[in-house]
């Protein structure tokens, strides 16, 4: 069990600053997701921990001790990539046993470790397979993972481990990862660009962009209380609706107005302390929070249906309100046609305001 601390990590490649003072603490035995778009610095962070890259400044500590002086091959960190690179000439068994043979472990001991790991990953039945290239994507992935696991590393670094799989298989594998973590109870850092994957596997998620962590929080907080516009838009499907407008002092409190649309705002937990009449903001509301049909407490609008995507468990409806386009979500397979007129209401306490000047959330 290893606690990983990253302090003020910086790394540049020529003129490109990949990491700009990244801080992150991963508690011992935790599975933390590093979530961010391509080029955010996820892989660079993992490489620095593994020792494949040397940071320009900052520190990385395992259980309170700096590891920067330790060469990669002695750090005992396992890194797992998108492509699994199995040895094509070795059987599944020998692929998994390979790192142990390198460690000069005895045959009996190797056999014991390989079999127990294979059991955990549910690939015992594959051990005798001669050509790993004949395995399915999910199976190859498990074999590669088993090869990493047998080394019993201090920390696991998973770099988009399931990005290469089919949508259906991805769904199954992410459950598998979480299950595995429960059994192993080892420290895992899991990099992914897919927020659903991050939410499904990790209890805490660090959102990374441009080489810094923007928010390190639980999934529900990231959804409901994003610190800034980027976190709000990067997380959630369909993407959060954003409307640009102005805050005005209305007869019944604060109001938001944009082209032809006026919304009464309800502050959650006390008054809005940082807003003033005429402040330019972006108002964000999640599609799941927009209610189809009229509500008693106002903020009801007429809208026209532009598209309905019926996904099975839910239907995503794209609406037009004059110049404004919004998405909302309804449970089940709902029938809406292009041009249908509907009423929607936007609960004033479910919206988030962002300062236009810096994208920070206003509370």
């Amino acid at each position: 069990m290893t606690k990983v601390e990253i302090r003020g990590l910086r790394k540049s490649y020529g003129a490109v600053e990949a990491l700009k003072g990244l801080d992150l603490v991963v508690e011992s035995g935790a599975l933390v997701a590093l979530l961010g778009p391509t080029g955010a610095g996820k892989t660079t962070t993992l490489k620095c921990i593994a020792g494949v890259e040397k940071p320009d400044s900052g520190d990385i500590l395992f259980n309170g001790e700096s590891i920067l002086g330790i060469p990669a091959w002695r750090r005992n960190v396992a890194m797992f990539f998108q492509t699994y690179a199995l040895y094509p000439h070795l059987s599944v068994y020998h692929n998994i046993a390979y790192p142990l043979r390198e460690q000069k472990m005895s045959k009996d001991e190797i056999d014991r470790v390989v079999k127990s790991v294979a059991k955990k990953l549910r690939i015992s039945h594959l051990l005798d397979r001669k050509e790993p290239s004949t395995l399915s994507g999910g199976e190859m992935q498990r074999v590669a993972l088993a090869r990493t696991l047998v080394r019993n590393p201090l920390v696991f670094l998973l770099d988009e481990p399931i990005s290469n799989l089919d949508a259906k298989l991805r769904e199954e594998m992410r459950t598998e990862f979480k299950r595995l973590h429960r059994e192993l109870k080892q420290t895992i850092i899991y990099a992914t660009p897919d927020y659903l994957e991050a939410f499904a596997v990790a209890e805490k998620v660090a959102v990374i962009k441009d080489g810094v962590i923007l928010q390190y929080d639980t999934p529900i907080n990231l959804l409901k209380r994003p610190k800034n516009r980027f976190v709000a838009t990067f997380i959630g499907s369909p993407t959060i609706n954003l409307l640009r407008g102005v805050v005005r002092r209305g007869a019944r409190g604060w109001e938001f107005s944009t082209s032809g649309l006026r919304l009464e705002l309800v502050s959650v937990g006390g008054a809005f302390s940082k807003i003033y009449d005429g402040l330019e903001v972006e108002l964000a509301v999640r599609p799941h929070d927009i209610i189809l049909g009229e509500q008693q407490n106002g903020n009801t609008f007429k809208a026209k249906v532009l598209a309905a995507e019926r996904l099975g468990h839910e239907t995503i409806i794209t609406l037009s309100l004059g110049e404004v386009e919004l998405k909302t979500v309804s449970k089940g397979m709902r029938l809406y046609k292009y041009g249908d007129e509907v009423s929607i209401s936007i609960p004033g306490d479910r919206v988030i305001l962002f300062d236009v000047s810096n994208g920070e959330a206003i509370h």
């Binding site: 259906k168 939410f199 838009t233 468990h313």
Partner: protein
């Protein structure tokens, strides 16, 4: 636009049978999705329909003309691939215009049609730009504009969204129905993403191991899957399959789930009676969002233990265990449950399927 018909199409690559006797009719003007996992043959079928590949046996008809021996251009096909195909030396306007240089009679017509395609794909502001000045998502929009600007018999899309990031994919996906409506042609769209197919298609054809499993509207394949594979492949999170046996008690049908007998709707009785003698070793299929959880005992529920909770943000995917049975249930994140807790699962009986695991057929 054309009606497309594949008749008993088989394709063998060396020893691999990529397509096995596939017949399907795609009505003109339809938005048709070919859906399946990798290796199912969907790309091969698409390539045979478009003329990039010849079938080992079988034929392709456009309307009633046999086009099996014709090239893609003779078939008048417009295609969009996974990667944008743009000439870097031309600006975006010229790239789109190039696609219709043989179709237009005047500069005026060219301008009008390029403008129309650009506005449909929301890329008007990029028309003057070059390849290297715009990002990947816009480039893919340009590729689609290049295809739909033409007056083709069939428009073919080969996983056009699969290389886009989630956000871009989502926004383009919601526009696809509108694009189809405006273009008004026959669309054949290949994807492995069932959500994408559900979201945009009029009809979906599901392939597995080179065989067509089912053709139907999203509603049909979602609510009435013909076999276990379709039930499994469509819908997210994946449907539960629970081992079960059925029995009639006082003329009422029951299914054994976990440690409990659950009463079923009357409609199951007929199906059950027709299978007299084989009521054991069956499976009950139910989707995770058709199961709800109660923390207090309710009538007609299954007592379970919460084994495992997976957060999906606003909802939770909860694995419940009852005796030998384990199944997942999708519920609201506000539900106050913990792992290890005793709860009661309520199945929505409208949406229960009974499956014969041997034949993989959905009995009802």
């Amino acid at each position: 636009m054309a009606k497309v018909r594949a008749e008993r199409v088989t394709k063998v690559f060396k020893t691999l049978k990529a397509l096995d006797n596939v017949s399907v009719t795609i009505d003109h003007g339809l938005f048709f999705c070919l859906l399946g996992p990798s290796g199912s043959g969907k790309t091969t079928l698409m390539r045979i329909i478009s003329g990039l590949e010849t079938p080992t046996s079988g034929s392709i008809f456009f309307d009633d003309e046999d086009v099996t021996g014709l090239s893609p251009s003779e078939r008048n096909i417009a295609m969009v691939f996974q990667f944008p195909s743009i000439y870097p030396s031309l600006n975006i306007y010229d790239n789109i215009a190039l696609a219709i240089r043989r179709e237009v009679n005047s500069k005026q017509e060219e301008r009008e049609r390029v403008q129309w395609a650009a506005s449909l794909l929301r890329i008007e502001e990029h028309l003057k730009k070059r390849y290297h000045e715009i990002d990947f998502g816009i480039l893919q929009r340009v590729s689609i504009a290049k295809a739909i600007v033409r007056k083709a018999q069939v428009y073919i899309f080969d996983e056009p969204l699969s290389n886009l990031d989630t956000k871009l994919r989502e926004s383009l996906r919601s526009e696809f129905q509108h694009i189809h409506r405006e273009v008004g042609g026959t669309f054949i769209y290949v994807t492995h993403d069932q959500l994408e197919a559900m979201a945009i298609a009029d009809k979906i054809g599901i392939l597995r191991d080179g065989r067509l499993q089912q053709v139907g509207t999203p509603d049909e394949i979602y609510y009435h899957p013909l076999n276990k594979f379709v039930a499994y492949f469509i819908g997210s999170p994946t449907i539960n399959f629970i081992d079960t046996k059925l029995k009639l008690v006082e003329d009422k049908p029951y299914a054994f789930v976990g440690n409990t007998y659950l009463q079923l709707d009357e409609k199951f009785k007929r199906a059950l009676q027709s299978r007299m003698g084989k009521l054991e070793n069956l499976q009950l299929g139910i989707r995770p969002h058709d199961i709800s959880i109660s923390t207090t005992p309710v009538a007609d529920s299954i007592p379970c233990n919460v084994n495992y909770i997976e957060s999906l943000g606003t909802s939770l995917l909860v694995e419940l265990v009852s005796g030998p049975a384990a199944f997942k249930c999708l519920c609201d994140a506000t539900l106050n449950i913990k792992e290890g807790m005793q709860v009661y699962a309520v199945f929505d009986k409208e949406h229960i399927h009974i499956i014969d695991p041997e034949t993989e057929e959905v009995i009802i």
